[in-house]
């Protein structure tokens, strides 16, 4: 027997309320300040370095995103590191916060389904991140215009828009994860600590562990080592393991989209490159195709984690 009514009844109300809460919260302000200042530092370095060696580059604007000037990493790398922090910051107390404030049963006693509450909260947090990323994106384009004086071409704008969309899904993965943990753990502090632990593990430890694990799974053939080469099997394993981290997926997708000369994200044999003009940019569509599997991975991760928290939340007892 089907339940009556729409699961989305009241979702827009929850969405608007949560969005207003997020945008006016001190927490969000701090996260935004953190991201804006770090990103500005990276951009400043990038602009400086671009001004000093103005080579012929058809994608000057995109270089703003990707150039890294030691000791600062590139703008995209910084975002890859900080977007999860922002998503966790917005999601870690989504469900248990309502429990602990004892508002959950009162809200669920209104004529809405739980679906509306969870979905509304998720979309509101994602929209908040979307808004700040869009603002950041405009900031980059604006600074590029002011300091480089080169108007962005349509392809550059298109590529950077793809960056924006992928970044939002990347945030979605972390947001889903944080909300899942906020459903699992009744204490917001536990949920925050566990999500931050996972974030640190996946962004810092995993890139070191994955190659080591690959060595164990597929020990490199000594003959390659004698020739001073990497065993392709080991390399492929290392890359596949790395791709379990959303961080890696984001960086690969960004590499494909923002550096138009990228031809492949995996190891290639030399004969596969025969006839290719090394250094020539790929058309926009081809770059997007290159980034597509990674993007799908991020979207799928978002959906799967959200479904887990949805199922858990539906079965959870509302009483405190």
């Amino acid at each position: 027997m089907r339940r009556e009514g729409s699961p989305f009844q009241g979702m827009s109300t929850v969405f608007v309320k949560e969005l207003a809460d997020h945008i006016s919260s001190v927490r969000m302000l701090m996260l935004q300040l953190l991201i804006v200042f770090t990103a500005l530092a990276a951009l400043y370095e990038a602009i400086n370095s671009l001004r000093q060696n103005t080579a012929e580059d058809p994608f000057l604007l995109l270089r703003l995103f990707t150039i890294d000037q030691a000791p600062l990493p590139s703008f995209v790398a910084i975002l890859g590191f900080l977007i999860p922090l922002m998503a966790i910051g917005l999601g870690f107390d989504a469900v248990n916060g309502e429990h602990n404030r004892r508002t959950l049963s009162r809200i669920l006693a209104q004529p809405i389904y739980r679906d509306a509450l969870l979905m509304g909260k998720f979309l509101a947090a994602l929209a908040t991140i979307g808004i700040s990323l869009a603002a950041l994106w405009l900031l980059v384009i604006g600074l590029g215009l002011i300091f480089l004086g080169v108007p962005p071409g349509s392809e550059e704008v298109a590529r950077s828009l793809v960056f924006l969309v992928v970044a939002i899904f990347y945030a979605g993965v972390w947001l889903s994860l944080a909300m899942l943990l906020s459903t699992v753990f009744r204490s917001a502090a536990t949920a925050a600590l566990v999500s931050l632990g996972i974030w640190l593990f996946l962004t810092i430890l995993w890139p070191m562990l994955a190659p080591a694990l690959a060595q164990v799974v597929a020990p490199p053939d000594p003959r390659y080592a004698l020739l001073g080469l990497n065993d392709p099997a080991t390399t492929v394993w290392a890359q596949e393991l790395l791709r379990l981290s959303p961080n890696d997926l984001f960086e690969e997708a960004m590499l494909a989209v923002l550096s138009p000369t990228t031809r492949s994200l995996g190891p290639v044999f030399l004969d596969q490159l025969r006839g290719a003009v090394i250094g020539a940019p790929l058309p926009f569509g081809e770059s997007v195709m290159l980034a597509w599997p990674q993007t799908v991975g991020l979207i799928a991760g978002t959906i799967i984690l959200f479904v887990f928290s949805y199922v858990l939340f539906q079965r959870q007892e509302v009483r405190a």
Binding site: M1, R3, E4, G5, Q9, G10, T13, V14, K17, D21, R101, R102, T103, S105, R106, I107, L108, A109, Q110, P111, I112, Y113, E317, V318, R319, A320
Partner: protein, 328 residues
């Protein structure tokens, strides 16, 4: 049972809340075990019992907020498990230790739930103003809820029910943790709800309060309803008789005279000229008449109304300790 005029789906004689064999199991443990319940429109019904006896679970099943393992239930003619939105549109719920969004004002908190109820903007504003006025919160309407006392929060919760124009108000431990004055005010507001013909269901372990405002009560123990009815009825059932009248008077053969009053089951002589009568009804007028008849002088005439506390204590006293431990 009140005879309020009503335009809703259920005619007055049909119970607004009806449950048969209602059961909720967690694993193999039944928290609510085969409850039968009929609550009439306009009634104030009390759910009593120790913590963990299944009161809140029963309430949550009523609102479709937790699954019903077996048995049937209808609230205002709707099945709460299958038509929760219809039930929740008509039933107001004030949870135990209700919470609000601290960073929002009283008005904003009500506006949020008002939107969730689907009220249009103008209607919402009107209802919020009215509800806050009735809950005595007009002056603090634009203060943040963070500054509110426990009593004010409870009243805000009640304002939400008033705003909803609920047909049934479900109040879970509404007066626990309130100071005596706040409790009085709150009970007065519950009385107002009843006067409007709203059915009120409240759970509590504040027995004297429950006794004062409830038409009927049910006593929960380990997932069962062990007693149900009006307080005087229960008193007769549990205590043997409802009224204990003490007489202090001089007069010859007064004890025998008192024992002859119809309805008196027992007369005990406490000391010289002091008697304690146990009766099924309030026999004070008859006792006074009896004293006058033997030409005695009446010094004191007092009645102990059947107290729910006495019923409760007696009932749980009589049970084997194992049952009580399970319930706690």
């Amino acid at each position: 049972m009140s005879e309020q005029p009503t335009e809703t789906r259920t005619p007055p004689q049909v119970p607004v809340i009806h449950a048969r064999g209602l059961t909720r199991c967690y694993g193999d443990r039944a928290v609510v075990d085969g409850i039968d319940l009929d609550i009439a429109r306009g009634e104030v019904f009390g759910l009593l019992g120790p913590n963990g006896a299944g009161k809140t679970t029963t309430i949550l099943m009523m609102l479709g907020l937790t699954e019903i393992s077996s048995g049937e239930m209808s609230v205002l003619g709707f099945n709460p498990a299958r038509e929760p939105l219809k039930v929740k549109r008509r039933v107001g719920y004030l949870p135990d230790a209700v919470g609000f969004y601290d960073q929002l004002t009283a008005t904003e908190n009500l506006a949020y739930t008002g939107k969730l109820m689907g009220l249009a903007r103008a209607e919402r504003a009107r209802r919020i103003e009215q509800a806050l006025w009735r809950a005595g919160l007009t002056e603090v309407a634009s203060k943040r809820v963070a500054t509110f006392s426990r009593g004010m929060r409870q009243r805000l919760g009640l304002a939400e029910i008033i705003m909803k124009r609920a047909e049934i108000a479900v109040l879970d431990e509404p007066t626990s943790g309130l100071d005596p004055q706040a409790t009085q005010e709150f009970l007065g507001m519950i009385g107002e709800l009843k006067a409007e013909g709203i059915t009120v269901l409240l759970s509590s372990h504040m027995l004297d309060q429950v006794q004062r405002i409830c038409d009927r009560v049910s006593l929960f123990r380990a997932g069962h309803i062990v007693l149900m009815g009006a307080v005087p009825e229960l008193a007769v059932k549990v205590l043997g008789a409802g009224f204990v009248v003490e007489v202090e008077a001089e007069g010859l053969g007064l004890a025998r005279r008192l024992a002859m009053i119809p309805g008196v089951t027992h007369v005990e002589t406490l000391s010289v000229n002091r008697f304690r009568m146990t009766a099924e009804r309030d026999v004070r007028p008859d006792a006074a008449r009896a004293v006058v008849a033997v030409d005695g002088s009446l010094r004191r005439l007092s009645v102990d109304e059947p107290s729910l506390e006495a019923i409760y204590t007696r009932y749980f006293q009589d049970l084997p300790a194992g049952g009580a431990r399970h319930a706690a």
